[in-house]
Amino acid sequence: MIGEFFKGLFLMIWKVVTDQPDPKVEFVSVFPATIQPIISVLLSIVPIIMVFASLFALTTLLERKGLGRIQNRLGPNRVGPFGLFQPVADGLKMLTKEDIVPHSADKLIHFLAPIVLLVPTLLAYAVLPFGQNMVPIDMDAGILFFFAVGASTELSIFMAGWSSRNKYSLLGAMRAIAQMISYEIPLIISSVTVIMIAGSLSLVEIVDKQSGYHFGFLPHWNVFTPWGLAGFIIFLIASLAESNRSPFDIPEAESEIIAGHLTEYSGFKYALFFLAEYLGMFAVSGLAVTLFLGGWRAPLPFLEIVPSYIWFLLKLMGLVCLFIWIRGTLPRLRVDQLLNFAWKFMLPMSLINLFVAAIWHFTSVWNFRGAGLGRWLLCAAMIAVPYVWLGRTLIGNKKITHRTYRFAN
C-alpha cells in the first residue's frame, strides 16, 4: 500500500515534470474509489493555492525591490538573505496585528467583504490552463466563467466600502465600481477578438490554436498579429484598471482618499484584500498570457523541452514585472479622465479591433503573392489610423497644448 502510494506519487511528479498527460491518474487510483474524486479535486486545488500564494509573496518582495531600484533605493534587505524572508515577516505582522472594526461599521458585511472578494478570485483559476494537460476544469464556456466570477468581485469592494461607514471608503468603493464596470467592457471585447478567431470559449482550445511557428521560429501567438497586438495592449490596460494597479489605482488613491475601501481594514482582513488583489492580478495576467501570448507554449521550437508551466509562469511574471515598472513610473489619472479614457478611447479602439479581427479572419483566404504581408499591413493601418485620430481628439474640448514660456529680464 505504502509502496504503491509512493510509486503513484513519484509517477505523478514525473509526469508533471515531463509534461505528460493525466498526471493525477496513477496517484489517485491508489486511494479507495469512494474518496477518489475528492483526492482528484484536492490535487488540483492545493497546488494552485500554494503556487499562487507563494507567487504572491514573491511578487510583493519583487515589487518592493524593483520599485526600490527604480527609485535608487535598495529595497527590503534585512530579513533573511537579500530580504527574501520579508514577505514572511510581513505576513506575520499582518496576522498578529489587531483587527480593528469601526464602531459604527456594519460588522457582518465588513467581515464578509474580504472573503467574498477572495473566493471568486480563486475560482477564476479553475479554467486557466497552467501548462500542457494542466487545467483544473476544461470548461466549454471557460472565458465566460472567468468573466462571470470576475464581475462578482465588484460587489465585494462595494461591501467593503459601504460597510466601513467612512466617507473615504465610500468614495473609494464608488470609484472602484465605476472603474471596474467601465473597463470590463473593453476587457471583454478585446478578448472576444481572440474567441472569434479561435472559434471557441474554451481556454484550452484557444491555447491549442496558437501552436506552431511561422518560418520555424515565430510562434503563432495572437500578439504577433495587428489585431492581437492591439487587443493585447487594450487588454493589458483594461486589466491594469481591473486589478486597480497604478496608474488606475484611483479607488485606493492614497493621496486623495487615503486608501479608499481599504481605509478601515487592518490585520488579517487587510492581508486578505491584499492577497485577493494580487491573485486577481495574476489571474487576469494569466488570462492575457493565455489569450495573446500563446499560454504555456514555448517561444521557440527548441525550447519546448522546458516544461510548459514554466513558460506560463515566466510569461506571467513578465507581465507582473511590467505592471511593477508602470507603477514605478506613472502618476495616477483622475476619475473623469479614467472614465473618459475607457469610453472614448478604449471602447472605440476595442470595437475597431474587433472589426479588424473580422477582416483578418476573412482575408485569410487570400492566396496571392505577398498576401500575408498585405493583409498584415492593411490590418495594421486600420488600427493605427484610428489610434492616432482618437489619441489626438481624446482630450476633446480641453485645450491640452505644448506650451512655451515667456521670460522677463
Partner: protein, 408 residues
C-alpha cells in the same frame, strides 16, 4: 459636522467659556464670531469631508473642510493652527539673535532663505551692511535653497498625483547633494542657523566651492532627466493643464507671490524689483506662465531652477575674497535703535518678509513674519471650486506650503 477643536494647547473648546482668564490677560468681551455654517449640507447629494489633519497629502497637519457634490468641490474651507506655536510671541520674548534658529523652523525646506530674510530685516533696522563676500555666500546658499525647494515641491506634487514616490526619490537624491554642501558649511542638514546680522557665521572654503560647482553642474543634467520623466508625460499633462486656474487679477488682489504669481503671468520677482543683496549683478531671467494652472506652476518652477543654476554658476565663478562680517555687527548685547523696518526677499515659496519694531531693548518689540505659504492659500478655495477631490490635492500641492510656516 466635523469636529473643530484642534486642542493643541491646554484649554479645550467645550470648557472654554468656563475657564477663567489668566491673570492680566486682555479683558475680552468680544464675541467669537461663529464659524460660517456650511450651507447646503442638508441637501441630499452633498457630502462633507474633512480632508486632514491626518490626510496623507495635506503636507502636514492641515485640514480642509470640503463639501462635495459627487466628486466635485462646491465649498472648501481651510482650517489652520494645528501647528501653531506662537512663533512671533516667542521671538518677542527672546533676543534678536535668539530668533534666528527659530526662523529655520518656519519653512524647514528653505532655512537659508528664512535666515536671510530675517537677517536682511534686522540689518535694515540696525543699519548694517554685509561685506561683499557675505552677499555672494548668501546668494549661493539662497539659490541652492531654491533648487532644493523646487525639486522637492515637484516631487511632492507628483506624489500627490500618485506617482508612488519615484520623482520624489529622484528629487531627494539630488537634494542630498545640496544638503551635504549645507552641512559642510553650517554643520546641520536642515536647521542651518547660518546667517548673522551683517554677514554669515562661517566662511566657505575653496574645496566647498569646487564641490558646489560639481553639484551645480550635475543639477542641470538631473533637471534634463527629471523633465524627460515628467514634462511630456500625458497623464501629468492632462491632470494638470487647465486645473486650478488662478486669474491674474485675483492673484494680484489676493497678494499671491512667488512662482504661483508668475505662473499667472505677473512679472514680479523681488530679486529684480528690490534688487536686494547683489542680485542686480547677475544675469538671469524670470519665467512667466500664461495660464496660471497647475502645469504652469510646475513648469515655472522647473524653469526657475534652470535660472538658479545660471545664477549659481556666475556666483561661484565671481565670488571674491574678503571678510564675511560687518565690523559694526555685534553678537552679544545687540540693541538696535528704536524704530521699525520691513524687509523682504523672494523666497522659494514667495515673498518672505519680516516686520520688526524695536524699542531699543535687546528683544524686538514687534516681530512679524509675512508667511508666503499662508497668504498663498487665500485663493485655495477659489482655485478648487468646481474641481474634483483629486484636483484639490494637486492644487494644494502646487501652492507649495509648509505647515511650519503657515501656522507658525
Amino acid at each position: 459636522m466635523i469636529s473643530d477643536a484642534p486642542g493643541q494647547m491646554g484649554m479645550t473648546s467645550e470648557s472654554a467659556s468656563q475657564v477663567p482668564l489668566p491673570e492680566g490677560a486682555g479683558q475680552s468681551n468680544y464675541t467669537v464670531i461663529p464659524k460660517t455654517s456650511a450651507e447646503g449640507t442638508s441637501e441630499g447629494e452633498l457630502l462633507e469631508v474633512a480632508m486632514g489633519p491626518q490626510h496623507p497629502s495635506t503636507h502636514g497637519v492641515f485640514r480642509m473642510d470640503v463639501v462635495l457634490d459627487g466628486e466635485h468641490v462646491v465649498k472648501l474651507k481651510p482650517v489652520f493652527g494645528y501647528l501653531h506655536r506662537n512663533h512671533e510671541q516667542i521671538a518677542e520674548s527672546t533676543t534678536y539673535l535668539g530668533s534666528m534658529p527659530y526662523t529655520d523652523r518656519l519653512d524647514y525646506l528653505c532655512s537659508m532663505t528664512n535666515n536671510w530674510a530675517y537677517a536682511l530685516s534686522v540689518e535694515k533696522l540696525a543699519g548694517l551692511q554685509p561685506p561683499e563676500r557675505a552677499e555672494y555666500i548668501r546668494i549661493i546658499t539662497a539659490e541652492l535653497t531654491r533648487l532644493v525647494n523646487h525639486t522637492c515641491l515637484v516631487g511632492f506634487l507628483l506624489q500627490d498625483m500618485g506617482a508612488l514616490g519615484t520623482p520624489l526619490m529622484y528629487a531627494f537624491r539630488e537634494r542630498e547633494l545640496i544638503l551635504d554642501l549645507f552641512e559642510a558649511l553650517s554643520g546641520s542638514r536642515m536647521m542651518y542657523n547660518y546667517m548673522r546680522f551683517g554677514g554669515c557665521r562661517v566662511d566657505l572654503s575653496a574645496d566647498w566651492i569646487e564641490q558646489a560647482k560639481q553639484v551645480v553642474d550635475g543639477y542641470s543634467r538631473f533637471l534634463d532627466e527629471f523633465e524627460k520623466l515628467l514634462t511630456e508625460n500625458e497623464i501629468l499633462v492632462s491632470r494638470t493643464q487647465g486645473v486650478g486656474v488662478l486669474t491674474v487679477k485675483l492673484a494680484i488682489n489676493a497678494s499671491i507671490t512667488g512662482p504661483m504669481l508668475r505662473a499667472s503671468g505677473v512679472n514680479y520677482d523681488i530679486r529684480k524689483v528690490d534688487k536686494y543683496g547683489i542680485y542686480d549683478r547677475f544675469d538671469f531671467r524670470i519665467p512667466l506662465g500664461d495660464h496660471g494652472d497647475v502645469y504652469d506652476r510646475y513648469m515655472i518652477r522647473v524653469l526657475e531652477m534652470r535660472e538658479s543654476v545660471k545664477i549659481l554658476n556666475q556666483a561661484l565663478r565671481d565670488i571674491p575674497a574678503g571678510p564675511i562680517m560687518d565690523p559694526k555687527a555685534k553678537i552679544r548685547g545687540f540693541r538696535p535703535k528704536a524704530g521699525e523696518a520691513y524687509g523682504r526677499i523672494e523666497g522659494p515659496k514667495g515673498e518672505l518678509g519680516f516686520y520688526l519694531i524695536s524699542d531699543g531693548s535687546p528683544n524686538p518689540y514687534r516681530y512679524r513674519v509675512r508667511p508666503p505659504s499662508l497668504i498663498n492659500l487665500t485663493v485655495l478655495e477659489d482655485m478648487c471650486l468646481g474641481e474634483t477631490v483629486a484636483d484639490v490635492v494637486i492644487i494644494l500641492g502646487s501652492v507649495d506650503i509648509v505647515l511650519g510656516e503657515v501656522d507658525r
